[in-house]
C-alpha cells in the first residue's frame, strides 16, 4: 500500500464526513421558515398557549447563535459535530442526542454483527453445497427458497415473520419494546431474555441475507469450476470432496470475504427498518421515535452517526484488503 493511496483514501473519508455534516447544517436552513417559530406553532397546534412569543424567539435566536453570520454558524456547527455534540433531543428533552444514540448503538451492533456472521457462514456453505453432486434434494430446495426470497426487503420478511412466528404460532415475543426495562442485573437469565426477545429481528435478517450470500457463492463456484487448476486437480485423480473443499471453495471464498467486510462495515445502518417493525431498542427504533415526533436534532444526530459508521467501516475494509489478497495492490491508482 502506498502512502499516496492512504492519503487519497483518508481524503475521501474526510470528504464523506464533511458532506454529511454540511447536509445536516444546510437542510434545516434551506427549508422555509425558522425552526423556533415552527416549533412554537407546533406547540400551539397541540393546544399550548405561548406568551411573549417575540421575546422568546429573540432569546432563542441569541441562545443558539442564530444572529451570527452564516459562516460563523457553520464553523461552530462543524466543530460541535466533530465532538459528537448534536444538542438536546426535543422529545426526550433533558436527554442529549448523543446519549440516546450511545444507549441504542450497542443493541444494533450486537444484533447485526451476530446475524451478519451467521448469515455469511450459512450462506456460503449452502451456496457451495449447491454445486456439489452429493447434496440432498431437500437442502437444494431450501437453498433455492432462500435465494428466491433474497431480493425481498428486510422489512417485508420482518412483517411476515412477525405475523407467522410472533402472532400466529406465538413462538417468540412479537415485540422487543419492553426489553430495555426488563434488564436490571446482568446474569444468565437476562442474557437468555435478550436472546429470546431478539429472535424475531435476528431471524428476519438471517432469512433475508442468507440467500444473497448463497447466490454469490454459487456464482463464484461456477466461475472457479471452469479454472484450469480444477481440471488439473481432477486429472490428478483427487477425490471430488478434496477438489471441492481444498480447491474450489477456498478460491471462491475470497471475494465473499471482501463482501463480508463491507457488510460488517454497514452493521449500524443495515437493518434500521427491521428494528422499526419489532420496536427493537436499537438505532432504528430511536430513528422511528425521532421521525414520528419531528425531533430534528435527533434525526440529524442519528443520520450523521449512520453515515459515519459506514464511512469508517468501509475505510477499514479498504485498508485491510491488500493484506488479505496479496494480488491486490494500489500501486497503479
Amino acid at each position: 500500500m502506498t502512502l499516496r493511496y492512504l492519503t487519497f483514501r483518508l481524503f475521501i473519508f474526510a470528504l464523506i464526513i464533511w458532506v454529511a455534516a454540511s447536509l445536516n447544517f444546510l437542510l434545516p436552513r434551506l427549508v422555509p421558515g425558522d425552526p423556533i417559530t415552527a416549533m412554537l406553532n407546533r406547540m400551539e397546534d397541540r393546544g399550548a398557549t405561548v406568551n411573549n412569543q417575540e421575546a422568546l424567539i429573540a432569546a432563542y435566536r441569541e441562545r443558539f447563535g442564530l444572529n451570527s453570520s452564516l459562516a460563523v454558524q457553520y464553523g461552530r456547527y462543524l466543530a460541535s459535530v466533530l465532538r459528537f455534540d448534536f444538542g438536546y433531543s426535543i422529545t426526550a428533552f433533558p436527554a442529549t442526542v448523543s446519549s440516546i444514540i450511545s444507549n441504542s448503538l450497542p443493541w444494533t451492533i450486537g444484533l447485526l454483527t451476530v446475524t451478519t456472521l451467521l448469515a455469511f457462514t450459512i450462506g456460503i456453505v449452502l451456496g457451495a453445497l449447491f454445486m456439489w453432486r452429493g447434496t440432498p434434494v431437500l437442502l437444494r430446495l431450501t437453498t433455492w427458497f432462500l435465494i428466491i426470497i433474497a431480493p425481498l426487503p428486510y422489512y417485508l420478511i420482518a412483517i411476515l415473520l412477525l405475523f407467522l412466528l410472533g402472532f400466529t404460532l406465538r413462538w417468540f415475543p412479537p415485540t422487543s419494546a419492553s426489553l430495555v426495562n426488563q434488564i436490571t442485573t446482568v446474569d444468565w437469565q437476562t442474557v437468555l431474555k435478550i436472546v429470546q426477545y431478539s429472535m424475531l429481528p435476528a431471524l428476519s435478517i438471517l432469512l433475508a441475507a442468507v440467500g444473497s450470500w448463497a447466490l454469490g457463492m454459487r456464482a463464484m463456484m461456477i466461475t472457479v469450476q471452469g479454472e484450469d487448476y480444477i481440471t488439473l486437480a481432477r486429472a490428478k485423480g483427487l477425490s471430488e470432496r478434496r477438489i471441492m473443499l481444498g480447491y474450489a471453495m477456498r478460491n471462491a471464498l475470497l471475494p465473499q470475504v471482501t463482501a463480508l467486510g463491507i457488510s460488517l462495515a454497514t452493521v449500524v445502518s443495515g437493518a434500521t427498518l427491521v428494528e422499526v417493525v419489532f420496536l427493537y431498542p436499537g438505532i432504528g427504533r430511536a430513528l422511528l421515535t425521532a421521525t414520528n415526533n419531528l425531533d430534528y436534532p435527533l434525526i440529524q444526530g442519528i443520520t450523521f452517526i449512520l453515515v459515519m459508521s459506514v464511512a469508517v467501516g468501509v475505510l477499514i475494509v479498504d485498508l485491510l484488503y491488500p493484506l488479505l489478497d496479496p494480488r491486490i495492490s494500489y500501486e497503479r491508482r
Binding site: I12, L156, F163, L288, L294, L306
Partner: protein, 274 residues
Amino acid sequence: MVHNWKLWLGLLLLVLLFASAAVGPLLIDEGATQPLYAAFNKPPSAEFPLGTDDVGRDLLALLVYGLWPTLSIGLIAGTLGTGIGTVLGLVSGYFRGPVDVVIRTLSDIVLTIPLLVVLILIASFTRTTTIEGTALIVGFLAWAGPTRALRAQVLTLRERTFIQMAQLSRLNNFQIIFLELLPNLLPYILAGFIDAIAGGILASVGLQLLGIGPLLIPNMGMTLNSAFAGGAMIRGFWWWWAPPVLVLTVLFLSTFLITLALDEIANPRLQSAA
C-alpha cells in the same frame, strides 16, 4: 434468451402488476378510497372483498388505486437514476482522465453513504408528501450504482476493434458514444433500470414505515403505515396489511427474476450450471 424461464416469469408478473394498475381503477369507484366510505374495521365480505380500514376506506379500492402511485415512484426514480447514471458512466468510461477521476470519486462517495439514511434526512426536513417529490429525491440519489456498472462495461468496450474502427472513420465522440457504445450497453442499462425501479419502491416504502414521505395518496406504503399505526397486526386484521405485502413481494420477485435472467444472458456460464 427465448428459453430463459426466469425472464418470462419476471416479465409476466411485472406486466400483470402494471395491467392491474391500469384496469383496476376502471372497475372500482374512486370514492371508496376516501375515509368514511364504509363501516370501520370490517373483515372481508361480499361487498368489500378485502374489508375496510379504521377510517372506513375500502381496502380493495386502496390496493387498486395505490398500485399506480407505487409503481410510478419506481418508474420516475428508476428513469432518473438510470438516466443520470448512463450519461455519467459513458462519459467517465469513454473519456477517462480527470473527468473519470471526479465521477468515480463522487460515485464512490455516494455508494458509501447509505441511501435510505440520506433520504430520511431530506424527506423529513422538506416534508415531502407527494409521489413525485419522493421519487425525485430517490432518483437523484440513485445514479451511483448504474454509473459504476456502465463505466466498467464502457472500459472494456472502448478497447474493442469496432470502436477503434469508428474512431478511424472519423466519427466524433458524440456519435461514437450514442451510436456505437450505447446500443451495446442496452442489456446493462435495462438491468440497471429494473434494479432502480425496485430500489426506488423499496426506499419509498421504507420511508413510509417511518411515517414520512407520501402518506396522503393511496399507495402500498401508505396502507402499510396506517395498518401498523392502527395495530392491524395485534388485532389480527390480516386483510389490512397482507395485500400490500403480497403486491410488494410479487413486485420485488419479478424484478429480481428479470435481473437474474439478464445476468445469465450476459454471462452464459451461470446459465449452464443452473
